[in-house]
Subunit: 646 residues, 2 copies
């Protein structure tokens, strides 16, 4: 028996007998490690940890800490759920059962059986029983004929339809215990890895998403390798529900929707508009310091602009429908870049004008299907923290790094501790189709971007074949305080639009040259970013950002007049304050201020007015002692300064 | 012969013989006055000063200082020009010859004759000759039959067409010297009042504006009662040409238009966008102090919103065409008010919430015919300094007065010394047609507005039958530094939309009541206001507003480095500065800075750098001596403060 060479992620190469599995190799390192291996990446592809390796290969062992490891376990969990369901409901037909972002689902035709959320606990129990059996997941290659005959016997139209779409030779079945499923895999070694199960909900779903097809029952679930992790997850879900931006947005009077205006088009109430203004002020200040210039462009343009940019016809289905005017066709803008390119082009540029950075909080309009609209997260009007940097190749790395640094600065300000940059590159096989056919420019810019990411020590993940058509891009994913993931912003390199718009500058040798363009939007759109912030802060916005910083609470109505002087003083210090002058008890006023998430309360009675002091109470923290108004103003000023100068 | 009672504008009543003319009455007051009387307002209608008055009447004598007086003279000047033209070109056919905003024109069919701008001087000369003849303008009532036969003989198809449209009994001819014209009048007493003539241009114009009709020759002209006034006017025209906002907008790199974006849709370059940002900052600060809250609304809405507001169908031709989406119809907003009404309505309101003032720099889109687009003055995208105040009737006068005060404050900041508020009221005869049929509300609100105008001592002019359909309005006309008139902003009262949107608040008696709405936009739209400011300031924006406050001019390249430190210090003081680091002579640098209208230049050489000082030069004013950087920063700060705190 010959040996093969296995290259591990640290670059070390070890020899193993041909036919070893990833699990064998893990065991050779440590038993503890082996117990945690869910699957493995062999030559870049995710495989069963129990599948034999026959040739030299690179190997990454995947555990619960890897996205792909989690995904493998949830995929296996879908099979486990199907096995449990079949035990209760013989003859049900199984459609598809994939892993998803947070768990898995299976779409099932329950035939004559009925199924509801009340049935979930018994299925959970059964799944745990089956898991304790530690049944192996066994992979088997089957011919198309055998696969068809297997499902013909079981009379499952969904699997038959899927098999018909597959090529002979690429079909596999997986079996665990008494359950077999058509499946590409991979799966975890045994059901025993699944220690905690929660089936979350039951919904209807059309077969293949087409409403002309039969309606199936979709069961969502999630599993964990430890009971404790399930508990934490359920807590997070509970907390996320409390922090739901739609619920808090209403309670805090931030925004509203109106049927006569239209779905996906938020109307920002005064407090929500205040958040927008504060974010814009922060962005403007940050961008001014970073050498950006602001511009303003209309929300519409003629068809020709989008034909030049390539948005038409490629992006047409995401754009609002055209308006016909004076024999021309106008569109609402879905992007600001074409307008900015025109502004760049309005006056001749020399290399001395570069880098030329144009910023605009431009509102774009994109068509999302009404079923996909979701609060502020999926909308049709997008106020974007947009900017375009026109630079030379020599300037590119510095500019790109400066953009990344700006992202990081914002993360510090907003207390975003966890984030990942997802670096999407092109696929050389799809040049000229999905990607602009300039292989040398792709290589050059991707190398530059990769270098900046590595040099900056930024956590990133490289994903092939997900670039924009005009260049590589970075999607920034951030995690809220409770660990919920949001895709907020993108940062894109563009060497194609400067060519199609024929944007040029005169270089030092007096020749015309095309700039590179960086598209960037660190704060994303107001809609999504504020949606994220509401959930991230649970509505308790930091002092610098919140519309109402201070609420003055007179302990009785007879002190209302005295409180007006305090209010006036605070306003002179540009502190955003109000008086609760209702005839309520101060206890009630405190509770209401806490509910409204006002960060600072000032309790004012006779003593305070006599001594010219204020009694300070912090939201959620209670009494902070008394100070005079000047001291208090200084205290607020310092707090705000600390929040912004990070 | 009996007497009649004549009531003069000061309220005094005097007795005159029946059949006296306004000129007779003027003479009875003073010969000097009589020499200046061009026409007269008799019982509110403008009449010939030479027409006899047969009954008791109110009388206002009109001179060159009255708009209607000017208008009368220019109308008579059109007749004078026609008389002169007939003397050169017998057989020409006359169409219409009205007075306009700044002069008059006549549309003429020159038949076999040719006419060009080169012929204007001889016509001017002839007009002055005829004026010196002091020919009286004689009014004559004629029957329709006589009128037709007069023009049949002269073979004038235009006049015949006009007479055919008139009722018998309402037709008058006016004759001066050897010239007779179909005309409703009124006219000045004699041609002798015309002392200075300038024929300005020749253009083509279709008969009745219809391109299917014959093309006539339109001659524009203007006349004055004194030669000196003509000279001043020509100077103003020359100056206005230099200040043309389209020319300066290009030179100062403020904005641009692009064919691919579309006509009437300005793209704001960095310096223009800077002006926008400064104006918005001023407006936001001013409005915050005045208790306004900012909101943000989308640029589109569904058809239903505009059906409720009444913009559809009444305003449809000024709106952009519809977009069909998901079976619904969407429009670009032409006004912000319907969106604001929805925001008002999003949460229940009580009288304690009123006045509720919502402000937004909302961009609206209005369709103007492409032939009517003009630079920034007539555009299709309008960024409006909009706000809506929802108040009770009891609060109305204070709110309305506060709005007027805000207008006046802005006028002081922008050095607008001359302005007129044009107060448009309804016409009771057109209630239910042009105007909402609520006579008592019209009376009430018009009375309130009039009272505020009188109490505030604001110059205003009341014009019947020009209100908005939902209430009385004030159009604010301002005059630029060179006396050019601009209609900038409107201020409207609205008692109708709160009814159609069913906007209510709970009053102190716990009943639901409709608020009154004030629509106001003191700074108008960015487009028109910046267009006005460019011409008003001739591009020399005041220090607080200008994008580049200071330009540092090193007297030789070896001082460039030292200037960078000065620049850094100025930036730390938030002063907007740049360095002209070109290898040019300082004289050239000064000239270029003057051309770019930079208000302050700092001339920096060895001496300045050694002593840590700057030599200050003011644009158009020259050397201001030297100061150290801190002193200079203070100087700039004071100047800005003075400009804004007026």
């Amino acid at each position: 028996m010959s040996n093969i060479n296995i290259t591990l992620p640290d670059g070390s190469v070890k020899e193993y007998p041909k036919g070893s599995t990833a699990l064998d190799i893990a065991r050779s390192i440590s038993e503890g490690l082996a117990r945690n291996v869910l699957s493995a990446k062999v030559n870049g592809k995710v495989w069963d940890a129990t599948r034999t390796i026959e040739d030299d290969a690179t190997l990454t062992l995947l555990t619960w800490n890897d996205e792909e490891g989690k995904s493998t376990m949830w995929h296996s969990s879908a099979h486990l759920m199907a096995e449990a369901l079949e035990s209760f409901y013989p003859g049900i037909k199984l459609a598809i059962g994939p892993p998803i972002e947070n768990g898995f689902y299976y779409d099932i035709d329950f035939m004559e059986h009925s199924f509801s959320e009340e049935d979930l606990p018994k299925v959970e129990k059964k799944m745990l029983e089956l898991a304790r059996e530690k049944n192996e997941f066994i992979r088997k290659e089957v011919s198309k004929a055998d696969a068809l005959s297997f499902y013909k016997e079981r009379n499952d139209p969904y699997k038959l339809e899927m098999i018909n779409d597959l090529e002979d030779g690429e079909i596999t079945f997986y079996t665990q215990g008494g359950f077999t499923d058509l499946c590409r895999g991979p799966h975890i070694p045994t059901t025993g890895y699944i220690k905690a199960v929660k089936l979350l909900s039951v919904a209807g779903a059309y077969w293949r998403g087409d409403e002309k097809n039969p309606m199936l029952t979709r069961i969502y679930g999630v599993t964990f390798p430890k009971q404790k992790e399930l508990e934490e997850y359920l807590e997070m879900l509970e907390e996320a529900k409390k922090r739901d931006h739609r619920k808090l947005g209403k309670e805090l009077e931030l925004f509203t929707f109106d049927d006569d205006v239209g779905p996906g088009l938020p109307l920002w109430l005064p407090k929500g508009a205040f958040l927008i203004e504060q974010l814009e002020e922060l962005a403007k200040k940050t961008e001014r310091k970073a050498g950006y210039q602001r511009v303003k462009s209309p929300h519409i343009a003629k068809e020709q602009l989008y034909l030049t940019s390539g948005h038409l016809p490629y992006y047409k289905e995401s754009m609002f429908p055209p308006m016909e005017l004076d024999g021309g066709t106008y569109y609402l803008k879905a992007m600001n870049c074409p307008h900015h390119h025109k502004i760049f082009d309005a006056l001749p540029k020399s290399y001395k004008d570069l880098p030329y950075r144009l910023a605009e909080y431009g509102t774009c309009y994109r068509y999302e299907k009404s079923g996909e609209l979701f609060g502020l997260m999926r909308v049709r009007s997008l106020q974007m923290n947009d900017a375009h940097i026109y630079c030379t190749k020599a300037q590119f790395e510095d500019e790109f790094k400066a953009v990344n640094d700006m992202y990081l600065k914002y993360f510090r300000i907003f207390g975003i501790d966890k984030y990942v940059m997802r670096f999407s590159t092109h696929d050389p096989a799809r040049l000229g189709k999905k990607y602009v056919d300039r292989p040398e420019l792709w290589k050059e810019t991707e190398d530059m971007v990769r270098r900046v990411l590595i040099d900056s020590g930024i956590p990133y993940k490289e994903v092939a074949d997900e670039a924009a058509f005009y260049g590589p891009k970075i999607d920034v994913q951030v995690y809220s305080a409770i660990g919920k993931e949001f895709t907020l912003a993108t940062n894109q390199v563009d060497f194609a639009q400067p060519l199609s718009f024929n944007l040029t500058f005169t270089n030092a040798s007096n020749e015309q040259e095309h700039p590179i363009v960086i598209h960037r939007a660190p704060l994303g759109t107001h809609e999504r970013f504020i949606g994220f912030l509401i959930e991230h802060y649970a509505g308790k916005f930091p002092l610098w950002l919140t519309p109402e910083q201070v609420r003055i609470l007179p302990i009785s109505e007879k002190f209302n007049e005295g409180c007006k002087n305090i209010l006036q003083s605070l306003e002179n210090y540009d502190i955003r304050a109000s008086i609760d002058d209702r005839g309520e008890k101060v206890g009630k006023k405190i509770r209401d201020a806490e509910l409204a998430k006002v960060p600072i309360m000032l309790i004012i009675g006779e003593k305070e007015l006599e001594e010219g002091k204020v009694s300070v109470r912090k939201q959620g923290e209670g009494d902070q002692g008394t100070m005079d108004v000047t001291e208090f103003a200084k205290f607020i000023e310092n707090e705000v300064k600390q929040q912004l100068e990070v």
